[in-house]
Symmetry: C2
């Protein structure tokens, strides 16, 4: 096996964990399965991570980071596409939704790891921080969209952001259960209409 700096090995193992757990769920998270997925001998894992817990923690962090990055990339384009609020919001939702439909298993894993983290005293802060960051990102996005379309929110930005996070999270969860993309889009349209009524 090629000799590789530990930082790179950690990255390799984290990515292997994400791939494995996306495919088979959190229940498949064992050191041996992960070492096989990364095509690396068993002992290497504990050379790179003090414990399984640490590996999982870093995996959760990395997954959240990647999700944020992907969402940012998908949302950056449509932000200036529409001149009116409704079409800007619709475009943003479509961009997010294309991400969801492209990687259902990864979405499901995100929910699984969220619940997993909330169960563990050491991991819970990671989940809480990810949740705060999500709210912040959506807040910024909604602020940008409002100014780009010459509108102004008539309710606190925090409240609008939370509503959007609530709806997207719930819609994703629903879709994971019934894969009804049409219904998801319908829900999005209703919410876009509601958001339009919250701006002047």
């Amino acid at each position: 096996m090629a000799r590789v700096p530990v930082a790179q090995r950690r990255w390799q193992l984290i990515e292997a964990t994400i791939a494995l757990l996306s495919r088979e769920g959190v229940g498949a998270a064992s050191i041996r399965r992960i070492s096989e997925e990364a095509d690396v001998p068993l002992g290497l894992v504990h050379y790179c991570f003090a414990s399984k817990q640490e590996l999982i923690a870093e995996t959760i962090r990395q997954l959240n980071t990647e999700n944020t990055t992907a969402a940012r990339a998908a949302l950056s384009v449509p932000a200036d596409a529409g001149t009116d609020l409704r079409s800007a919001l619709t475009a943003a939702f479509r961009a997010y939704w294309s991400l969801v439909e492209r990687s259902p298993r990864r979405q499901l894993l995100t929910y699984e790891l969220n619940a997993y983290a909330l169960r563990d005293k050491e991991l819970a802060p990671i989940a809480e921080q990810a949740h705060r960051e999500l709210l912040t990102n959506v807040r910024v996005l909604l602020d940008e969209i409002a100014t780009a379309t010459g509108r102004q929110w008539t309710v606190p930005l925090d409240d609008v952001a939370r509503l959007v996070v609530t709806v997207t999270g719930g819609a994703t969860l629903n879709w994971l259960n019934d894969r009804d993309s049409t219904a998801a889009l319908t829900t999005a349209n209703l919410v876009v209409g509601a958001l339009d009524a919250l701006a002047t």
Copy 2:
């Protein structure tokens, strides 16, 4: 150990499983832990259930049934409490929310088992059925509320129901992450306003 009909033993084991997993998460689901929780010898579990998988399947079914029953009980009272749509919807949300806040760990378990089921080919239909039943129940509730308040939905009832399921599911998930009840209520108020605009 008292001799008890197998049907009753099954119920006892299912309830013990719900209690254990509510406290410690799906990761704690092992036959031995469950038998300890139920205060029953190990062998009895496999006398009552052909496999762990079957026990988990029945546990998911039972949890969903209990959730539905509890929601129905909590929502039956406020249904006729308000004469206008907004207060009726608000009352319904508050009733649901009191359930959520009373049993956060059980709510989290519901999400965990949902994801767990979606990962398993044998269990996935159970999750899908539960999801369909939830939509149906909410549809009926919204229909009742509309007629009770002399209003009529201007968009298909299915779409309103899905919106409500989306929001309540997302709001619950958010709250499990940050326990911000005030924010949840604010979100609910915004949604109630949006729903009010969807009825004539």
